[in-house]
């Protein structure tokens, strides 16, 4: 209503009582303003998704033309033990990374939000790993987690723990990649918690203080309930991004040893690039999309339920 540019003189002078007869202005040029964004958006964000649905039903490689194979790629995916391993690993990554990121992110945010001296510096240090590339994360942690000379095993050895083969054994490789991922991903959760903590009305905590609530009581009865929506959001966002885990895996372990740290995207990557099976890779990608969509809708539903 505010940006009526050229009001017709009649309506401006005698508005009928209770009913405003403004003819809404139509800015055709608005389409042009949006088009610069919308055209690449449709070409590179939407079209490939639709194209991908088609590719998933074909056999297609870099050379040659597509051949329609119906649901063959999907039946094959369901029978492929490595697909099962990849999705199971995604779940295991979720079990390790999501609580790690959420709990530590919340703890760090609670600490920084207290406004102690140097808390600005602490905020910078906690967030910093989030801005560097997967290559940095991967290589730094391959070095830190080195079985023989890595810092982690060095300090574990100092307290009597024998050397853990973090990235070179089937038992530990997924844990090793998860540790690096928590370090990398924490920043986003941390910042979201920090923003939410600042949004808690001050009189709420003041009132609790006046009532003589201790710090643990304030945390459990005031702060955490107020943070419920953001906790739910962080958990979902992190779960989705964990299901999409790829770069760290690629840099640190190549999915190995023996597929023990593989992930859905890593397997899709191998099928497309190494095996040149674009149709099959697209079919697995579609399955991953469905899993992620279900997770997203589940979170929306749960949030609405509570509100």
């Amino acid at each position: 209503m505010t940006d009526m540019a050229v009001p017709a003189p009649e309506t401006a002078t005698v508005p009928p009582p209770g009913r405003r007869q403004e003819r809404p202005r139509v800015d055709r040029v608005g389409y042009l303003f949006v088009a610069f964004f919308a055209v690449p958006f449709f070409l590179f964000n939407i079209l490939p998704v639709l194209f991908g649905v088609y590719v998933a039903f074909t056999r297609w490689s870099i050379v040659g033309s597509p051949r329609w194979v119906g649901t063959e790629n999907f039946t094959r995916a369901f029978a492929d033990p490595w697909v099962t391993v990849a999705f199971q690993n995604a779940l295991l990554y979720g079990v390790l990374i999501v609580p790690g990121v959420s709990v530590l992110g919340l703890a760090f945010a609670l600490f920084v939000s207290r406004g102690y001296p140097l808390s600005g510096l602490a905020r910078t240090l906690f967030f910093a790993p989030n801005v560097v590339s997967a290559t940095v994360i991967g290589l730094v942690w391959v070095w830190l987690l080195d079985t023989q000379f890595g810092l982690v095993n060095h300090y574990l050895g100092a307290v009597g723990v024998s050397a853990v083969p973090w990235l070179t054994s089937t038992e530990w490789s997924l844990v090793g990649v998860s540790i690096a991922s928590v370090w990398w991903d924490l920043g986003l959760a941390f910042v979201l918690f920090l923003a939410a903590l600042q949004d808690i009305p001050a009189d709420l905590t003041e009132a609790a203080l006046v009532d003589g609530a201790g710090r643990w009581q304030r945390l459990f009865f005031i702060v955490l309930p107020q943070l419920r929506p953001v906790i739910s959001m962080v958990v979902t966002l992190q779960l989705i991004s964990t299901f999409r885990i790829f770069s760290q895996v690629y840099v640190m372990t190549n999915g190995g040893p023996a597929g023990s740290s593989s992930s859905p995207i890593y397997y899709i990557y191998t099928m497309a690039i190494v095996r040149n099976l674009f149709g099959y890779a697209s079919a697995i990608a579609l399955l991953l999309f469905i899993v992620i969509l279900i997770l997203t809708l589940l979170q929306r539903f749960l949030l609405k339920e509570r509100a």
Binding site: L32, V140, L144, R244, S247, A285
Partner: protein
Amino acid sequence: MTALLTRVRRYMDEHRFTLLDLPIWLVGMAVAFAWFAPFVWMVSTSLKYPEDVMTAQIEWLPNRITFDNYVKVFEYPVVRWAFNSLVQAGVATSLSVLFGAMAGYGLARMRFPGRDGLFALFLASLMIPTEVSIIPMLLGFIKMGWASSYQALILPSIGNVFAVYIFRQFFLGFPAEIEEAARVDGAGPFRLFFLIALPLARAPAIAAAVILFTLNWNNFLWPLLVTFDESMKTLPVGIAAFTPVVGTRTQLEGFSVAMAAVTILSVPSLALFFLLQRYFIQGISQGSIKS
């Protein structure tokens, strides 16, 4: 001395800093420094002689330093990779900020049929993980003969919804009087946008630019897939090849060269973050909480 003590006292009173807070503060700060320590270790290792790297003794500060590892990194085409990264991240970021600003302005300040539907569609598309479309997109680029090209590196990242969102939010709160005045002066929509609205949108522009630049600079999966040519790799993809698979030269060189390479790679994003962290943190929390 007593003056200092009273100042500390007053500070503690003002900030409700009790004796119980002291251990919390000490532990918290120690954790914060430990959290950053891997970066220190990275730089420290990159300055060591290879024979000083794989040692039983931990040397946080190297006894003797060398820049040989950095020289060795430049035996690879890192300058070319850095140039590619700069072109890719620079162009993609500029275009997505500009287009995002235009679309955000159009969606916030203009009225046309389908406007809100379009915006809802843009937001809904955030639920689609990019990885779903990446294999078919790769196929498309290969078929068009665009693999290993700058357009392949740049085009897919310019339709960025985050930029649209952050500008729309800003322009929704934009004072209508300014627009009115400009219209009365006879300014058309483009002059209005480029000469008046955009220059006033500095804060969202910087926030979008730093966040998207970091995102584009760090982009990994797509450049990895679409560059078959060694000379068209971006810095993160090129340097990822320093991964020490047992038996390769990195293993023999004992991580010092790899750490020099990742130090070079992390400096631009860390520097940008340290200088502009206010924009980073505000932009990210605004962008994700509301959507």
